[in-house]
């Protein structure tokens, strides 16, 4: 898959949750443009166009990042912080999708600028419904700072 055409970056190390998420997205025809990263390091490489993802460009960011908190190598909160503190990636919508319901995590997340925080339901069906509707909200209702796969830059006027 051409990595410039990714709509959703899914960052999760749980195979079960990844499968569930992809399945839910597939039912809305969003699944064929999802890239899965298994840890925080790969997520950062993807978003910052380094390492194995050096051929990617900041001009073609994903429209949405679904980010778990508990990740190997680099955890979700650090990924969030890096993304939201860098001008090149700040505008990418990031949604925390995590089993944590800690108030602290929500506080920190929103303070860091996460676009929204979703708690993974334990229930299979509820999880699917959440993913489906969130996918629709962020890719259809929402206007991402991207059009035709290319990021808008503030200087442009089309």
């Amino acid at each position: 898959m051409n990595s410039t055409e990714v709509d959703i970056l899914l960052v999760d190390d749980s195979q079960e949750d990844v499968d569930l998420t992809l399945h839910a997205l597939r039912s809305e025809n969003l699944a064929n443009r999802v890239f899965v990263a298994r840890d925080g390091e790969e997520a950062l490489e993807f978003l910052f166009c380094t390492g194995p993802h050096a051929e990617r460009s900041f001009d073609h960011p994903p429209k949405l990042v679904l980010l778990d908190l508990k990740l190997p190598k680099i955890d979700g909160m650090q990924v969030l912080e890096r993304v939201k503190n860098d001008d090149r990636t700040r505008t990418i919508p990031v949604v925390l999708l995590t089993s944590s319901k800690e108030d602290r995590d929500r506080m920190v997340g929103y303070n860091l600028g996460v676009n929204s925080y979703l708690q993974k339901p334990v229930d299979f069906d509820a999880f699917r419904k959440l993913v489906k509707l969130s996918g629709l909200y962020w890719l259809v209702t929402n206007q991402p700072p991207v059009a035709n796969g290319k990021a808008y830059s503030a200087g442009q006027s089309k």
Binding site: K101, R106, N115, S116, W138, S157, K158
Partner: protein
Amino acid sequence: MTKSLPRVLIVDDNPADVCLVREALAVTERESEVSSVGDGVEAMSFLTRKEKFADAFCPDLVILDLNLPRKDGQAVLASMKAAPALRKIPVVIFSTSQLPKDIVRSYELGANCYVRKPGNLNEFFYAVRSIEDFWFGFVNLPPRGE
């Protein structure tokens, strides 16, 4: 324990649009507390509970238009995200503008999302309902500061 109703602040200088959003929110099954202000300066007063807004609630969600008198939407956004007490409040930009510069600047300033105000009634209601469903139905909002 009664869970208190979700609270929405609408910031829009067009009373007709404010009325439409209120109508759209009213027809859903979910109840919410809705307040509205007509310009950016009032928005900041409301959020910081100044003067006549001393008893204002702290909103769980702000629906913000861009084109406002006195202080425009992006300036409000910037002020909100710069204030530690207001920073975590989710802001949905709700605007007719489709200009890339408006969209990207809003994200740069920390808007949580950007929704286009449709011209058609059904689409308008649908958009507001989507916003409400997502933010009050699925999202874990930040803990209420007060």
